[in-house]
């Protein structure tokens, strides 16, 4: 067994603004199957965090159960982590976020974890606009239990088992748009040039950012007849726009032609530049996003890219009007201000 990742790294590995190399964002060696799309998504997360110069201890990664939910072990070893019960990651994330709003919350889930057992949790996290990135590593099957079709498998798709899937797929992206999600994107594990800026934009978005990432299961769901195989996805890939994420205060070096380009400014000053590929689509218009999505579905396309963003998103803490400081830093005298304060409050009701 030669499954040891050497400790040596490239001696000239560049460092980011806070002095970390990409290697500082790595995790343990993956135990998933070689070629699993999930590993590519892990690598994209590492790349995004490195590029954003995130301090690893300022990020919490949360997951449920499944191949997807194993991945937080394989990235960001120096960050906080919580591996929840199957499908219950959104509750944990909501609670953690309530207690400490200063961390970046990165939820990792799968199609089983989100679209089946955890559906009830998933929709409420969207409804509450919990400030987190929610990545669904979507392979259309239960890889951990030998590849049975999951709720996101398309009608007619054939996995390694050989039989066609008879039930319609739950489209998490369409559902999130319907539920009022404030940031909705879809991507493909095999396309890091799109996925990395999407993750960066999602991390900068205040509120719930859903990234549905099609991630082929090489072992059980990579037949040419499967709609979630490398070949099929590549052949049917359509993008709303090419996307470039420019963090706050960074100089804009790329020039964007007039016309089909759009800029979305986020609350922290960072900007998403979009070079639109789809006509009649506006990233800040939910109606056009739903239309474009349905249109793609009818044509059998896998529509990727940023689908919708609400630049005026108000996340859970704003809706709840909580204090600006993380609750876990409030001391007893601040939480129990005493008799005098209580009487003042009571007096206001009289």
């Amino acid at each position: 067994m030669t499954y040891i990742k050497p400790k040596f790294r490239h001696p000239e590995l560049p460092k980011n603004k806070i002095g970390y190399a990409k290697a500082d964002y790595e995790g343990a060696i993956s135990t998933l199957c070689g070629g699993c799309g999930h590993d590519s998504i892990s690598a994209a997360i590492v790349q995004a965090c490195y590029e954003l110069s995130i301090e690893p201890h300022k990020l919490a990664k949360l997951s449920g159960i499944g191949c997807s939910s194993k991945t937080p072990t394989y990235f960001l070893s120096n960050s906080h982590g919580f591996n929840a019960v199957h499908g219950r990651m959104p509750s944990i994330a909501t609670g953690a976020n309530m207690a400490n709003r200063n961390l970046i919350y990165l939820g990792v889930s799968g199609d089983g974890d989100s679209a089946s057992i955890g559906m009830g949790q998933f929709v409420h996290a969207i409804r509450r606009n919990v400030n987190m990135v929610y990545i669904v590593m979507n392979n259309g099957c239960y890889g951990l239990t030998k590849g049975q079709n999951s709720a996101t498998a398309d009608i007619g798709s054939v996995s390694k088992g050989g039989s066609e899937n008879r039930y319609p797929a739950i489209d998490l992206v369409g559902m999130a748009l319907e539920l009022g999600a404030t940031f909705v994107g879809r991507s493909f594990s095999g396309d890091k040039t799109q996925l990395v800026p999407l993750i960066k934009a999602a991390m900068s978005h205040p509120g719930f950012a859903l990234l549905d990432v099609v991630s082929p299961c090489v072992t059980f769901n990579n037949k040419p007849e499967s709609t979630k195989s490398y070949d099929y996805v590549r052949a049917h890939l359509e993008a709303t726009a090419t996307l470039d994420f420019v963090p706050e205060k960074e100089e804009i070096t790329v020039s964007y032609p007039e016309g089909d380009s759009a800029h979305v400014e986020l609350h922290d000053g960072s900007v998403i530049h979009l070079q639109k590929l789809a006509p009649n689509w506006n990233p800040t218009d939910r109606y056009s996003a739903v239309n474009r999505l349905l249109e793609a579905k009818m044509k059998g396309e896998v529509l990727t890219g940023l689908l919708y963003i609400d630049p005026k998103s108000q996340e859970m803490h704003e809706l709840e009007n909580t204090v600006a400081r993380p609750l876990n830093t409030l001391r007893e005298e601040e939480l129990c201000p005493g008799q005098e304060a209580l009487e003042k409050i009571n007096a206001s009701f009289r």
């Binding site: 030669t2 050497p6 699993c36 095999g190």
Partner: protein, 600 residues
Amino acid sequence: MKPTNIQDPEYFHKVVDCQYACPAHTPVPEYIRLIAAERYTEAYMVNWESNVFPGILGRTCDRPCEPACRRGRIEEEPVAICRLKRVAADNKEEVRHLMPAIPEKKNGRKIALIGGGPASLTVARDLAPLGYEIHLYDEWDKGGGMMRTQIPAFRLPESVLDEEVDYILDMGIHTHFNNYVESMKEVLEKDYDAIFVGTGAPKGRDLNLPGRQEAGPRIHIGIEWLASVAFGHTTRIGKKVIILGGGNTAMDCCRTSRRLGGEDVKVVVRSPFKDMKASPWEIEDAQREDIPILNNMPPKKFVVENGKLKGIIFGKVAAIYDENGKRSLIPTGEPDVFIEADDVIIAIGQDNAFPWIERDLGIKFGKWDLPVVDKTTFQSTLDRVFFGGDAAFGPENVITAVAHGHQAAVSIDLFCRGESVYNRPAPYTNLVSQKMGIHEWSYDSPVVVDQRYLVPHAEKKVALSNRKVEVELGFDRPTGFKEAQRCLNCDVQTVFNTSRCIECDACMDICPTSCITFTTNGEEDGLRARLLAPANNTEQDLYVSENLPTGRVMVKDEDVCLHCGLCAERCPTAAWDMQKYLYQVTKATPIWNISEQSTI
């Protein structure tokens, strides 16, 4: 960039940095793995096939392989390749029965070898198994050439030297020792089918400064003095000794002086310490024996009183470099320094000398009175005369002489068979998958983080009391194993099959040293800049695939690849495979076929 042609035998050869840097192209990782497997005899034979003198070179080689070692690019120190070679030599069992048989019936061709050093001995070894009648001439009473006369016994024990020289002489070589060849014309008049000249660079440089003539016998020429010590003619030296020069000969002279009665031995070099030509380990060994090295001090004159040497007056200089890096030594204006000496040894270089080759024989001589020799065939302008070793292109080292010997032997064999000497055989190559099963390779793919191991030395007091006590003791077997495990197995190549790749990025994501990138193709300069990690070492190639279905290509920077096999391990379609590449320089006759006899 165009897709890399891995059919070119030199492409993967270049990836094996140590082997590529070795003049004789010894398959280094192959024998290091054999050492780790405690198969010392086979490890020895892999060496013997290629470099002919494993025991000798395992102690004295100039080690061009070590600065090239990939390990030195990912951490501080390369693998101790040279010392591992010695582990093979020290621990081998009987090897004579593995060496080629010498035919009783000769092929009717006679070859003369002038000089009994490494180049001539290599020619003898490569040609004797083919039935050539070989006559070897040397001025000394034993074979070995400069390996015997210039390398002190405390670095190379006589027994080791005798053993490896005898393996060759016992192949039925007709030796003519104590026989200084004085005339090439006479040799040509004898009935030799071909003549090989391997007479080295036997003339030590002198230093004609004021007082040189008067000082007389207390000033010695380095290589001549070392030879005289080696043959027991010189057994003593004065208490105070100055060595002039900063090369390996100077290091051997100063350390030998310490063993012959020199108590206050100093090495004085005219240039800065860092520009010294001696190998770093030889400088260290000298310093360990309490020999100071004074730098930036050119000698001005020998001080002689009443016909007796008193010492040397040195000036003081500083090295100034111009914008092209050219050095000039400028006097600093400080007062001159007088250093006392009973003896002075001049070790400032050596030259070729061919007073015995008449200039009207058709053998042309060119610059610096060196013969005109073809760089590939080692043939001179007289077709049956060949040159090799230091005699061909000036002073180099033992391993270069061996490399020349192999090529000259190929030429001589072709020449004697009436074929063109340019019709040279291609190298022997082999590329074989090392996959044994899931997570299982036939080589130790995990990369150990161990630092280079130190080699033990004999106790200084004992070593200095006798010039024949070997100083470096070599690795014991357990340390040899640990050092061998530091080898990155660079000969186990990452071979990419474009048609199998599904572009899942698994290899790119797992590669610990970020060597692999999938990107759009382009010109080399641009491509090097936009890989995952910058590919700034332009001496190392980029391995570029054919176009993939998405229009991208796979680009692998060979520079710091650890050959850990994780790319192949994670590849779901076996588009990557780890395949062992064997490259053997073709000899005049097969000596030891590695892939048949010792595969590991």
